[in-house]
């Protein structure tokens, strides 16, 4: 059975728990674009997380607080810094991406990021670049509209 859909209140819980634990992260992918105002649909939240042992430990503490049941081995993955971690063992699905396609460093993405009601979000240029680089069928399909949104979004800034 599919878990419940991701809700705004859960995004707030992520934001608040990650802030309490000092996690360095950005919303990425379509969930990030939606926060910026992109009218589209998606199934889960993608977070670009800075890759460092200290940040991995902070993520671990925040996820446990949010109700994710992490095993010792999974905690090790977060601390050692796997590039991609997919969590479906908590109150909602979450993809943690430590090395997204098309974005060189977290620090560079952070300098460009956008704050939306306290949610740290990747700049739309970075979201587009990561989707271009990933080159999945579903990205190829959605990119023209996302690019048009980026152009529209820039005129409103």
């Amino acid at each position: 059975m599919a878990p419940a859909k991701f809700e705004y209140a859960q995004a707030e819980e992520i934001r608040d728990a990650f802030a309490r634990h000092g996690v360095r992260y950005l919303f990425l992918g379509k969930s990030g674009a939606i926060l910026l105002g992109f009218p589209d649909t998606t199934q889960d939240a993608d977070l670009f997380v800075e890759k460092s042992p200290a940040n991995g430990e902070a993520v671990e503490h925040a996820l446990v607080e949010l109700g994710f049941g992490l095993t010792e081995s999974e905690v090790g993955d977060l601390r050692r810094g796997k590039d991609f971690v997919q969590l479906k063992n908590g109150p909602f699905d979450l993809d943690l991406i430590f090395a997204p396609d098309g974005i060189d460093t977290f620090a560079a993405a952070w300098t460009r990021h956008v704050d939306v009601d306290g949610f740290p979000v990747c700049h739309p240029d970075d979201i587009i670049q990561s989707k271009r680089a990933a080159n999945r069928a579903k990205d190829r399909e959605s990119l023209p509209r996302l690019i048009a949104f980026r152009d529209y979004w820039k005129t409103r800034r």
């Binding site: 809700e7 969930s31 939606i34 998606t42 991609f84 971690v85 063992n89 396609d101 990933a134 579903k138």
Partner: protein, 82 residues
């Protein structure tokens, strides 16, 4: 990376399409974030992908390759490179 970029083909929308999208963007901009969120996140069962509570990959490329090999193509996660 270069191999992936070579496959990229970006379709330019025509003027009518662009205008329709802009109307959608304008309408969305008038809605509060909480309301946009409510209708943006959906939930459907994704075979294979949803069948394990946890996965991790040493590299993002390894994750992409896993999607290419293991997921049904209609889910759209594949790059068509494998």
């Amino acid at each position: 990376m270069a191999r992936r970029m070579l496959c990229w083909l970006e379709m330019e929308p025509d003027e009518a399409q662009r205008k329709q999208w802009e109307a959608e963007f304008e309408a969305a901009a008038k809605r509060p974030l909480r309301q946009r969120f409510r209708y943006a996140f959906i939930r459907t069962y994704k075979p294979v992908l949803d069948d394990a509570p946890y996965r991790s990959f040493d590299t993002t490329a390894a994750y992409r390759a896993w999607c290419d090999v293991n997921l049904p193509s209609w889910l759209g996660y594949g790059t068509g490179q494998v």
